[in-house]
Symmetry: D3
Subunit: 242 residues, 6 copies
């Protein structure tokens, strides 16, 4: 499941814990891979500080979930679960990964601080990393060609983590196969979902977003920077139905 | 130049004065009509309170500018220039126009209040009108079939009018023909541009937006509601280059 | 069902249309009346501009819903459905009702403008009315004794109407009887709920709020002014569980 | 004065310097202990970087002030006065204290950054610590049972530190004994109050809050998360009198 | 006390009720007139809806207060106390006054809506009026030469009315004569201050602002638009002392 | 070019990289030194992580640019380009520089995080340093007399870095000599400006600000704390012309 090829991967998602990408944005991944675009996950801890599951179990669950979503996965060790700090060295390490994967789109956890302390710290590290990936003089990354991504989107692991200072864009995930794949990927995190109603919570969030947008289910993503379009016809649908 | 056909028009733009659409969003209109999508303007005063130009001159200038931009145009009288008030009757009248034109996209001036008092009032009236156009029981509109637009975007006539609580989307208007058409449409408002450096100001705004986005020129629009996409690949470019 | 008694009523709720109170805050009403506190509804139109239902039907539905919730109800005519304007005379009329009912707590629709134009206008009118109810010199209200309410809370008819600049307080409505009563009251608006999935939407909102707060279901209210407590022990629970 | 008992303590307050709790929230502590609820202080430096007072003096002043307020106190060394940094190890250490004290309510300095750099850093560390106290797998805290607090409130050491993005709740501290106790506790910090008008400033803040709320004096606290109530009658008073 | 001369008046202050200017910004007026700059008041109601004082009394009190502050005064009737509405005709009438007085600086009540409904409405009318005063084609003002003011500042009648989205500038009013003059001008409103502690409240506000700024007393004003300086040395002092 | 004298220097500007001060605020420096007020630059890296230019080249360019602007310059090593972290030791080191230079006004990069990671980190370090410079007990700074600055202004290296939560003040830099000096100082950074259109971007920003303010060119600065004035006449001009 380790990424080995040399081809650029269109979508690169970072998670602080083995289940964050799946719970916060798994349906978007399912939607992209189903459309034939490759996705790669970078998980930055083994979830060893959680109340449930061993690191070994949690890594296995993450691998299974990534596989269900059609994504490749790798683990990178920063400071460990619940110990993440904002260090320049971490941002540079993540910038090195971005240069290796060469993604078009990057997903990272949102920056709202009133949530798990690892989430927003990783979000800030990824934001800085996407910028450092462009700077030619970083000696740690010498030999690795500069890379400019097209977009950075934040996902919110919980509703509390949704930014209020960025207008969301909604990704329609109403197709039954997408919902089923997403649910399966969340359920793959057995150690977590047996104890709490996380899956129910995420499906409720997505359904409420979908109902509000006049569709079945939807996931809100939060672009770090303004989107650029050549034409208004590229932005046809909007979300207000009530 | 009056709209007479029965075909739905994809793009409907509202302006409070004869030159507002051109100065605030003319380049976007040029871009859309150049791509073959029809546009229609609704101008809600004859500019009679301005310091320069007679109503007759200003209407003629607006017609010429619309023609240069490839758009049809009509004038609707609400309370008159600098006299606009927020009245339910106005919103209903504008809703009637929306039902007649049946647009996919609507453009309206932004809601920031620290600008010409007619601008934000018209923005609020249009926002309400897009909603009222959906309600079946409005007796003033009986006989006119309900219509649901896909999107409402706000444009900012000046930099001061740009909202800070909505993330902008940028429309790339770098093509030389678009810039030339836009400039000509602004210049058509002779009575206004002879006195002040409005054209220079708008081109400087668009150029600065473009430089920041790594392109030539760009116009920021502000969506009233979240955009909905089926796929991340529809939102490929973003604006941060510095 | 008309309020006739002379006793102060602890809870007074204003709605712009016959179903707004029920959909936006019905569960809170059910919870209060179940605890023995009287509630009174003031509905400010007969819903005549909606796509479904006649005014007569809608008034009957509202009366039935209020009855199910254990509340009294009255209708007041301002400008009519979808025609509401912000007029001093309206605020004074509502202030007169407040002086007659003498409530401790007042509920009004939230002030966010990107929703039905009647909702936020009524919210602003009620906000002003609670203030005018205190001023002794208003000649229209001469003879009616001044009244100071204890609190004004805003409710959000839809998720889009939730303010982002006021911290919510959550009312726990998890008791099965409360949920059942609320659902029945919403269902009493047959003309509305047959066409759209409003009940499903509101239950999804309340469930998501509840899950996030570690309880079953909850409704967010938004206090107009800071709450005052004698002791921290009065404010024991908070909402973050994820 | 060191906390030795095994009983949970309802109220736990963190301060970055020996006088922060007293100046920012002392009256609330006085109000709670007067009502029979135990309070404990954790002071995270000895104030050794201040312009006035030796560490020994300042610790003695803090002990005296805590005693006057009816609270127990302990000192914990993090990085030292004016040297505090946001480190995962600090948050975990504070989480350990929370697990030991098992508080219902926690008070911490507010997160606004334009104040003494130790204040907001400690606020963020406490916020993270209240969350980490819930996670079962943290190896540093093995053996210490998980603990979930009911509420986290921020206090503002100065008016500049009051958040503008959280609605305050006001605690009425008008009782003369509370004011006297609070003033005495502030005056116990002789080394600080001889040089500057800190007491006058805090009393002016509390009086202005009280006047605005229609009472004598009040302290604003800022809840980290939404408050949850079973009933509107629990939230009876609000603050607007002007 | 009616303004009769033809000289431009540097400072023009608008108030919704006979005592608003004095309570919200009287000390600034005292400071300016003491420095030899003329000030003129425009009061837009006779305070007839207040709980205390007759219109005749209140006008006499306002005249006396203006005289104490060294300002001239006139009354203009719009819709009457507690009946003010936002009408284009009102803004044009106020624009006419601005053209007649030709002020450099204008003061108006702040735009925050959660206060007396006349306050923010007047603020919005004045804001629009300062703009309309510049437009040459307004037929109601034909014959009156266009006028461009240099600055519009908002004052806050109460602490609740202070904007949070505009950075304040502080005017130092610590000179004993300024404080004495201000206090006398507030006290001139006998009908109001006998009943409530308004003077105490305003002095507490000004003292707290002053203490925070390292001076005696200060008043916060909120500029409508960015201030322009030729040099940093014009902006020497700032307010943070704690 | 190293600062050796003992005289206080009125203006102290901090930059994260050799060209930041020039690009973000060079025209303000030119304006101040031209008026006879000395300025000093502290540059906190040698720009060694950039894509273009060697550290040696970049330091030489910075010295030349400072000289053109009439400023003295020194380099201080913190963590190195793109490696800056928020450490208490850095803030104390910068506080030591502030105590040595004894400035009236300090300039620092803005705190907006969505830009080069060194910019906002340096801004936060400087903000903290201006506070630590006042505290007498810091053992690292023993022997260095406490210093209180009058003002801290943030400058924005790019338009993206402009704060939206602080109202800007504009410095008029329209004088041709100021513009020429600024342009020359930017052009002195040959290694940077040959590759990208930075000068064009900055001039476009300043021109747009100037046009909006009714003058030629202007630079926006963002005061950390409220400005204090003795009189309204000190704040004569404001920026809105459109």
């Amino acid at each position: 499941m380790q990424l080995t090829g040399k081809m650029p991967v269109p979508l690169l998602a970072f998670g602080a814990h083995p289940d964050d990408i799946e719970f916060g944005g798994g349906a978007v991944i399912a939607s992209e891979t189903r459309a034939g675009r490759a996705a790669h996950f970078v998980v930055c801890s083994r979830g060893e500080a959680g109340s449930f599951g061993t690191p070994k179990q949690r890594m296995a669950e993450a691998k299974k979930a990534a596989s269900l979503l059609g994504a490749t996965i790798e683990f990178v060790e920063l400071d460990g679960d619940s110990h993440l700090e904002i260090r320049a060295a971490h941002a540079i390490k993540l910038a090195g990964i971005i240069r290796r994967i060469r993604p078009i789109t990057v997903l990272a956890p949102s920056l709202i601080e009133n949530q798990h302390p690892d989430h927003w710290r990783l979000g800030k590290l990824v934001r800085d990393a996407t910028r450092l990936a462009r700077y030619g003089g970083l000696k740690e990354l010498r030999g690795s060609p500069r890379h400019i991504i097209d977009q950075l989107f934040y996902y919110a692991v919980t509703a509390e983590a949704e930014p209020t200072d960025i207008s969301p864009v909604l990704i329609d995930i109403s197709a039954p196969e997408i919902l089923a794949t997403w649910t399966a990927a969340m359920a793959a995190h057995c150690s977590q979902v047996s104890a709490l109603n996380y899956i129910e919570l995420q499906l409720a969030r997505a359904k409420l977003r979908g109902l509000r947008a006049g569709t079945g289910h939807a996931i809100a993503l939060f672009p770090s920077d303004p989107l650029v379009f050549d034409s208004l016809s590229k932005t046809l649908r909007s979300a207000r139905k009530f």
